[in-house]
């Protein structure tokens, strides 16, 4: 759709969003792309860096309080890059906040998530929240692809509202190997290290 093209074009002009597959190649298999998170641009940049045929079947996960905040944000994020909105605040304890993500994975589509949960001021990721672990448990056959977003913390530091034009490379790594009976903590730390190894 025209809005997607416009968004991707603007992202290219401002920050490049050049994909780089490190010891890996784009795969048509269903996947969860997980990355470090430092700016509001991250979702759009990672999504733009995917090859078009993968992008069509991939939905970024975004916080409802930001991308669902205003009618404008909802329109852009929904029509433009097809986000799945999730609740960060978790007021209602009876509903699993990950349910929308389970639905997307069940339908065969791929996801983009930022397991730190919120934006960080530095380049390297903080410890991951457990969402990624729960997704991997419930969908063991979905590939978990680590992604490192370079330079975005410089382009759009927390507290600013427009990205600076700095060239950002998006590095995709090889999918995470499965280890039987791995503890949650070990799994999350291993996933985080895979992202850091791409930096």
């Amino acid at each position: 759709m025209w809005l997607s093209e416009l968004l991707i074009g603007s992202v290219r002009l401002l920050v490049g969003a050049y994909p780089r597959w490190v010891r890996s190649a784009p795969s048509a298999a269903q996947g969860i792309y997980f990355a470090n998170h430092s700016s509001h641009m991250d979702t759009l940049v990672l999504w733009s860096a995917l090859p078009p045929e993968l992008r069509r079947q991939t939905r970024p996960v975004a916080a409802k309080d930001y991308w669902g905040g205003s009618a404008f944000h909802r329109y852009v994020s929904g029509k433009g890059f097809n986000v799945v909105l999730i609740e960060r605040a978790r007021e209602d304890r009876s509903v699993d906040p990950l349910q929308p993500l389970y639905d997307v994975l069940s339908s065969g589509q791929s996801l983009i998530i930022f397991p730190e949960g919120t934006r960080k001021p530095q380049a390297l990721p903080d410890p991951f929240k457990s969402g990624l672990y729960h997704l991997s448990q419930r969908f063991p056959n979905v590939e978990l692809v680590p992604v490192y977003l370079e330079n975005l913390h410089r382009s759009m530091p927390k507290g600013t509202f427009f990205p600076l034009p700095l060239i950002c490379t998006v590095r995709f790594g090889a999918p995470l190997a499965t280890i039987e009976n791995e503890s949650k903590e070990n799994f999350l730390e291993r996933a985080r290290r895979e992202v850091m190894a791409l930096a």
Binding site: G16, Y18, N151, R154, P157, L164, P165, I167, T169
Partner: protein, 316 residues
Amino acid sequence: MNVQPKFYWLIGGVVVLLFIATVIGMLLKMRATTDSSRTVVDNLNQRTRAWWSMIAIFVLAFFIGRNATLVLFGIISFLALREFITLTPTKSGDYYPLALSFFLLVPLQYYLIGIDWYALFSIFIPVYGFLLLPAFAALAGDVEDFLARIAKIQWGVMIAVYCVSHAPALLLLDVPGYSESGQNVLLLFYLLLIVQMSDVMQYVFGKLFGKTKIAPVVSPSKTVEGFIGGGASAVAIGAAMWWITPFTPLQSAGMALIIVLMGFFGGLALSAIKRSLGAKDWGTMIEGHGGVMDRMDSVSFAAPIFFHVTRYYFTP
């Protein structure tokens, strides 16, 4: 001669030359067997390809006019600055001076050229930009490495925006007996031609006869033999191209010499800068894309001096 026939002769000549260069490049590629010879051939073919796109852009600019040329160079400045700043360590306190550089200084500099306001465009960045950038940076309140950080931003803006913008600024010069017939666009072509020819010929002469390195640490491929051979051929080409300029053949040789010297200094100085930033090529350092500064380094040094010498001696 009027500008139209000159233009067609010029483009025709360049296209024939490029065609020959492309065919030779393909033949060389087939015959290259060692790794080092492959690198050399690839490098030459890359330059030929850059020339094809440059000529396409030039033809386009000629037909759609001065403003289009300015927009084009504005985009080049924007991309060159983006590359420069990407490789420069900046901090979040640099957000506002950087935003000012990209979104205000770049368009305003080209707008001022577009409205022919020489008195302001020639001092806009060195005076207003120079003073406002540190003021904005100081407001962010981060004093760590303040001078080094702001100096790098000022440097990037001066080179990528101010200096580069003097190439299309040639279009606003009023050279009697020349500019009236709309020939200034040929002057811009002349500048780019000499700069590129000098680069290519220095590379070729260096590969063939190069022994004595000029600055081995800064730029290992620059040799005395390459510089003299390449520089002399670029000056000869400049003299032979006098008919597209307002100069006599001798003056044209002198102008070409100035362009060659400044282009050489530009290549050297910017090579030292990128090495101090830890990169070998502006292009390869940034994966997947880049290389605008690699193409513009010589132009950025040659353009302002060529502009001012022409303006001083050939306009009333």
